[in-house]
Symmetry: C2
Subunit: 141 residues, 2 copies
C-alpha cells in the first residue's frame, strides 16, 4: 500500500513551486536542487501536471512553471492522481471481469471501493494552499 515517490515528489515540488514563486516562473532546475530530485524525473512529472492543467509552462531563459490556478483550488488528490495513474487500490473495477460472480468477491470488492473513496476524499480535503500555509508557519519558528 505504498504511495509512489512520483506522488510524493509531485506534491513536494508543487509546494516548493508555490512557496518560491513571486509571480514569475520557477525553473525545474531550482526545484530539483532544492528538493533533491532528479531534474529529468521532475520534467516527466511536470509534463503530466501540465497536461492536467495545474501548472503552466513558460519556455526560454527566465522561464519555468507557474500555478495554473489559485493554490486554494488545487487539491492534493488532483496532483496525486495526475502522476500516479491508478489511485484505486484494486484493478478489478475495469470491466465485467468474470470471477466477480462469486458472492464473496463482490463483498470484498465493495471494501476496496470504499477504501479508494476514503483515500481520494482525504487527499481532496487538502489544498496546496493549506500546505503552503503550514510550511510558512513552520519556517517562522
Amino acid at each position: 500500500m505504498r504511495l509512489s515517490t512520483r506522488a510524493q515528489y509531485a506534491v513536494r515540488a508543487m509546494v516548493d513551486l508555490t512557496l518560491n514563486s513571486n509571480g514569475s516562473p520557477v525553473s525545474l532546475r531550482e526545484i530539483a536542487s532544492r528538493e533533491n530530485i532528479s531534474l529529468n524525473y521532475l520534467e516527466q512529472l511536470f509534463h503530466r501536471l501540465k497536461k492536467g492543467a495545474v501548472v503552466l509552462s513558460v519556455r526560454g531563459p527566465g522561464g519555468g512553471y507557474l500555478l495554473a490556478r489559485d493554490s486554494a483550488s488545487i487539491r492534493l488528490g488532483e496532483i496525486v492522481t495526475l502522476v500516479e495513474e491508478p489511485l484505486a487500490p484494486v484493478a478489478c473495477m475495469d470491466e465485467g471481469k468474470k470471477g466477480c460472480t462469486r458472492g464473496d468477491v463482490c463483498v470484498t470488492h465493495m471494501v476496496w471501493q470504499g477504501l479508494g473513496e476514503r483515500i481520494r476524499g482525504f487527499l481532496d480535503s487538502i489544498t496546496l494552499a493549506d500546505l503552503v500555509r503550514e510550511a510558512r508557519g513552520e519556517e517562522k519558528r
Copy 2:
C-alpha cells in the same frame, strides 16, 4: 496506490473460510479451488495469518484452518497488515532521515501520515463478521 493481491486474496480467503466452516477445519485446497488462488501461494499467506493469530491450524487428514477468534473481533486492518508488511503509504517514518529538515518535506510528511491513519482506520472499522453477514445476504437473492 495499489493494494497487493496478497491482501485481496487474504481477505477473500478469510471470508471463504468463515463462510464454509461449521466448526470443523477448512483445508486450503478447498479454499484455493473455490477462490481460484494458487495453493502454494495461499499456504504462504496463511502462514502469516497463523503467526498473526487470526487462524489456527489442524494438521493431518481432515485438517485445515479455523478462525482463532470470533469473526466479529477480526478486523480487516489486521488481515491486511499481516500479509502486506508496510501499510504506511510512505517509507520515511523510519529513522531521523536527513532531508526531513526541510520545512516543506515535513509538511507533506504529515499528509502521508494522516493518509495512513485514514486507511488503517477504515480497514479497522470493518470486521470479518461484517463481510460474512453481507455475503450471506447476497447469496439469498
